[in-house]
Symmetry: C2
Subunit: 176 residues, 2 copies
Amino acid sequence: MSLFERGLVHVYTGNGKGKTTAAMGLIVRCVGHDGKAAMVQFMKGWPFYGEIKGLSYLPNVELFRTGGDKCFRKGEHSDRDLKEAQRGLEIAEKCLTNPKHDLVVLDEINVAVDFGLLKISDVLDLISIKLPTIELVLTGRNAPEEIIEIADLVTEMVEIKHPYQKNVTARKGVEY
Amino acid sequence: MSLFERGLVHVYTGNGKGKTTAAMGLIVRCVGHDGKAAMVQFMKGWPFYGEIKGLSYLPNVELFRTGGDKCFRKGEHSDRDLKEAQRGLEIAEKCLTNPKHDLVVLDEINVAVDFGLLKISDVLDLISIKLPTIELVLTGRNAPEEIIEIADLVTEMVEIKHPYQKNVTARKGVEY
């Protein structure tokens, strides 16, 4: 029995902090109601993210990580980056058509599109094949207008103040 | 050994979805790095929140819930509501001065101030007594300017699109 009679499409975008973290919070809430969740991460092959171990404590959560173990720059991607994004896309397809899932998070997929690793039509196709009972969450800054248009729920995380303005760099347990 | 050499003060505010959920995602990340977290919820005595069971799966997380089991309206609070907010304040004080914690979330505390259950000075006092090694997260819409001023990291969740515009009401596993 699925948690959602009619699963919606969420987008968490914007330049502020809290997009991936909000999606993880939804996973906590979902499993707290005995739901089943999957998170497919794009461009996040780096092995030191706190969510890897953190999410492993939760029951009924699958985490799939794709992407190289490096920083990405827009416009500079390798064949391996493209292949990894494609691998993420294929996993996402499987998750979105598997009736066991209540919640599927495609983490940083907006960035993968923005950086040219995926096409907008790839994401629109994923949305179109999603089973009706699955809640789908797309995260990452610079969500394309076509995706915002089709989504049911869109939140823009706006950075009002950030400590890198005070030279604080990314910190373990907070940014990763 | 604390996760943070210098813990910062975050605020998640705004009318959009993702404030409490982002704070829960930070908890996931924190325990994923073997940190210890506490969440004190204000105005959330209702027993059906998914986070209650969801967070219980994570190690080293304490959840303290305060507030009556009902909806709140601004300007209409009972003595019990005030007492519950005060109880939350006292728990928050203990959490923020206990060196075992790496992360302390004061969930909906901005709303408790906005609704007149707490004073701005109560929150500023909490920030001032916080141990330097603790990362403090304050959530809730309508964060007062004085708190934004003193915070290190402020994200405003802006609602771009929400399904209640399509008559979808709060749903289990998503909004609660």
